[in-house]
């Protein structure tokens, strides 16, 4: 661990990994509860066009990716809010457009090629610059701020949209807020695990956490902890084993899920049995 910290690029990479590990599951818990687990994937595809646009126009790809991903997220949310059956296809069309647009635009960029995109598709955390770290830090602060300020409202919204409406919550605004926050998370995580695996960091720690937790809050906190363990642990593994960091991070997260799935079975079974035992005397008291 100490040895790894002697390299500046690893310090930057670890900082980025830590921030992403915190932010992605914090948004992810709402995204999963809202049944939008694939939203991150969709935004990731669209963000590729943004990256290519950055190379084409000579702007920082992270910034153009933010703009395009946010626009994509808004479109996805509008499609989702409007229709039911046709929405699926409309979203699929958008995703294909995102990938195709990215490949097309990168070809037009001076000196650009598909290999330029590869580092964004699969992540290149070791090439994270100081500027990247700052952008990631600011976006992470925004994402965590959204969760802190709007968390209770988002909980109601993700639980039941009609109930949110009858509580007078600004449903359209909150829906857009989730979509936009997810888009920013995608861009944050893009450099760490790559656009194709971004969604894993939003979904897998949450899926792992909910195997063993009882409450929403505990799920979120455990997911954030698992997120950090996965990103930092995966990056460390990658450093020493010489494997691809993005893949190592996601596989570590998935391994955690597999363990939790088995552990959860036992925890749940014990707990349900406990509840049954606790309930028996109560019913007997209530009886004649």
């Amino acid at each position: 661990m100490i040895e790894m910290l002697q390299f500046d690029f690893m310090v930057r990479a670890l900082t980025a990994a830590l921030l992403v590990g915190l932010a992605a599951p914090a948004v992810g818990v709402f995204v999963v509860q809202r049944r939008l687990a694939l939203l991150g994937d969709g935004i990731g595809h669209v963000a590729l066009t943004g990256v290519a646009l950055g190379f084409l126009t000579g702007t920082a790809p992270v910034l153009t990716a933010v703009v395009v991903a946010v626009l994509g997220a808004v479109v996805i949310e509008l499609v989702r809010a409007r229709g039911r059956t046709t929405g699926d296809v409309a979203l699929a069309l958008l995703f294909y457009g995102g990938i195709a647009g990215g490949v097309l635009l990168i070809g037009l960029a001076p000196g650009g090629s598909n290999s330029t995109l590869t580092s964004y598709l699969f992540g290149s955390i070791s090439s994270v610059t100081t500027e990247d770290v700052w952008v990631i830090a600011i976006l992470t602060a925004f994402v965590l701020g959204v969760v802190a300020v709007f968390g209770r409202e988002l909980f109601v919204l993700c639980q039941d949209e009609e109930v949110a409406r009858v509580n007078g919550l600004p449903v359209r605004f909150l829906s857009l807020l989730i979509a936009i926050t997810a888009a920013l998370t995608v861009v944050i995580a893009m450099r760490v695990v790559g656009l194709l695996l971004v969604s894993a960091l939003m979904v897998v720690p949450v899926a792992t956490g909910q195997q063993v937790t009882r409450s929403f809050t505990a799920t979120m906190l455990l997911a954030m902890l698992l997120g950090v363990v996965s990103t930092v642990g995966g990056l460390t593994t990658a450093f020493y084993a010489g494997v691809a960091p993005g893949a190592a991070i996601v596989l570590l997260a998935l391994a955690g899920f597999a363990v939790a799935l088995v552990a959860g079975r036992f925890v749940r079974r014990g707990r349900v049995a406990g509840l049954e035992r606790g309930r028996v005397p109560a019913t007997m008291e209530a009886g004649p």
């Binding site: 818990v29 999963v32 509860q33 809202r34 049944r35 939008l36 687990a37 300020v149 709007f150 209770r152 409202e153 909980f155 109601v156 993700c158 639980q159 039941d160 009609e162 109930v163 409406r165 009858v166 509580n167 007078g168 919550l169 949450v206 909910q210 937790t213 009882r214 409450s215 929403f216 809050t217 799920t219 707990r271 349900v272 509840l275």
Partner: protein, 274 residues
Amino acid sequence: MTPSAQATGVSERSAAPAAPVAFAMSGGQVSLDGRRVLRGVDLRITAGEVVAVLGANGSGKSTLIRALLGLIPLSGGTTELYGVPPARFRDWWRIGYVPQRLSAGGGVPATVREVVASGRIARRGRLRRARPEDRAAVARALAAVDLTERAGDPVGFLSGGQQQRVLIARALAGEPDTFVMDEPTAGVDAASQRQLAATLTGLVQEGRTVLLVAHELGPLAPLITRSIVLRDGLVTHDHRPAEDAGCHPRPGHEQVHPHAYDVSGGPMSPGASR
């Protein structure tokens, strides 16, 4: 949820000269997927009434109450919530909505307490931390549905009837003066139905307005002051059995809705109104 606390909460708002008509729909029409589900409904529900909307499956019961709340847009006619179209209604803290079932969503666990506490959302500002009165309201709501001991359990572990009680507790936690319940008795065991009847009795005694959709009333029947029967999207019966039974005393009712019966002009519960 003491009657006095509720009374002050209400009187602040209803001090305005507006008549306390909770729901007013005129010529209400709703089309869903090209099918006309409501075909011209006229309905006025006065604050303090306990109204059951009855009817067969597909008669438009749920659609009616969702349209009254503005959850479904009307394709014709108008509807008002306390004198304001739902789109411009702001006093949502007044409404406690109990949907048909607890939605599982994406399966992230939530405890009974978390779900019930979320019912305070219309009462709590965005950045305001939970105050003692918030916690007290949640505790009272949990106690009212007899789920205090299950507060820490995930809602997914509860039976259907218990989940229904969680939804009712969530509405109670917001301390609304108007309850809208979509089939609160559907798929609920007899014990939970009696529990619901007891909870509703308390609310009715405090003078709250209740609008509920039901397939059959069961133990709720004695509480109902008015039943509306829907058939094919039209109101076919509007019946007020109130006067033929004095079985719903309402102590403190006058303080809560002083004008309720002046406006309705109906012959309902004359003994209770003055």
